[in-house]
Structures are given as C-alpha cells and as structure tokens.
Symmetry: C2
C-alpha cells in the first residue's frame, strides 16, 4: 500500500535501547522533522479520521493554500506516513499504520529486550 516501502527500512532504530550512530540519529530525526509542523499533524489526523481523504477536501479545514497543503501531503508521503493513490482526477491519501508502529517502537522507553507491550500498557512501573 505504501508507495515508498524502502523508506520503511531506513527508520527507525530504538532511540533508548543503546547509543545511536550518527546515521541512525539522522534517519530518525528526519522523520520527526516531517512531524514537527502543526498543519501536517492536522492533515494526518484528518486523513485518519476520514479513513482516506482526497487532497481536494483537506485544503479548507486546514486553512492553508492548496499548494501548501500539496507540499505538506508530499512530505508526509515521502516520509512513508501517508500512501497515495490516483483515482480519476483526484489523488487519495491513507495513513500507513506500519510506519506509525515503527515510530512507536523507536520511542519505547525501555530497551528492546523487554516487551514493547509493557512500555505501552497502562501500568508502567514509572513513578511520575
């Protein structure tokens, strides 16, 4: 479903399981950079809420120009977070769930050796 499955291979090393190499840190930072724009996060959330979205229906709610929205959608697609499919005159976008799962794993607060389920479940041993 993702148009750019190779990019899924690049990212994402677990951030907290051991010292990252420079290359690993750059790959992971690049994905976070794509996510560091509020308009892009709103676009992702709108596509997720709709199941799939045409670019044409995203311009108005996000309150940006059509070229800006197209640019953001292209960046999100290139980062493997959205997949795109042309149908007739419109391009439709969907979330790529595996990419978000990979990011979740990269952010696991415990080393990879422990179960990732423990780190996402509600009863973590952390005292805050």
């Amino acid at each position: 479903m993702a148009k750019d499955p190779e990019s899924l291979e690049v990212c994402c090393e677990p951030l907290l399981a051991g010292a990252l190499s420079s290359a690993e840190a750059e790959d992971l930072a690049a994905v976070f950079k794509v996510l560091s724009d509020p308009a892009r996060l709103r676009l992702l959330s709108m596509v997720a809420a709709a199941g799939e979205s045409c670019a044409c229906e995203l311009v108005e709610p996000v309150g940006r120009s059509q070229p800006t929205v197209s640019h953001h959608l292209a960046a999100l697609t290139e980062a493997g977070l959205l997949s795109r499919e042309r149908r007739g005159r419109w391009v439709w976008y969907q979330i790529v769930p595996a990419r978000f799962t990979a990011l979740q794993r990269a952010l696991a607060p415990q080393p990879r050796a422990t179960s990732p389920i423990d780190s996402v479940g509600g009863n973590s041993p952390v005292t805050i």
Copy 2:
C-alpha cells in the same frame, strides 16, 4: 522524577484518533520539533544507555561544543524528555520514561478505543 510534570499534561493527544485542534497539533508538533535534531537523539540514546549521565561526559562522544550540548540538554529537559538533578558541581540527566510512553500513545496507528497493545504487537493487519 520529572522536574516539569506540568508539561506532561500538555502533550500528547492521539494523532490518529480524530481530527486534532490547532492547539493540540501545536503542542504535539513542538515535541517532535525538539526530537528533530540528530545530536539531540544521540544525547537521549547515550543517557538511556548509561542510565544517567553527567553533561560533562556527553560533550566528547556527541562531537559538539559544550555550550551546544548544554543547549540541547536544556531543550530536551524543557520538553519533559529528560529530568535533571544537580549533585555537587555537576548536573545529572535521566530519561523520563512516561514522556516517551505518552508519545508512543500519541502515535498509535488505531483510534484510542482499540487496545494500544494491538497496535504495537507484531501482527498488525497492515499489508506493506
């Protein structure tokens, strides 16, 4: 353990569970922005690998100047990703696991109503 527990309240709405408001998107984007620098990711990974780290021992492996490392550590602490504690003449840093768990939840590929365990387990229904 976190010195700035209030910041944990601000972030992080689930990105893919429904359309984010502008304010929610800005809060979440701000955290990703802090994570969008490779040197900061390397610092986080080094602190995690060591359990806790003194700023003094992070300068050389990350290959940046002491003021630059201090700036990055301050940004990571302000974002609630690191906690800091002064002991004698040095400041020691630790990962704030709950902050990473919150980010993992924000990136869950399914709406919050479904179990977060399903979204992190290896057998997602996604075809990539």
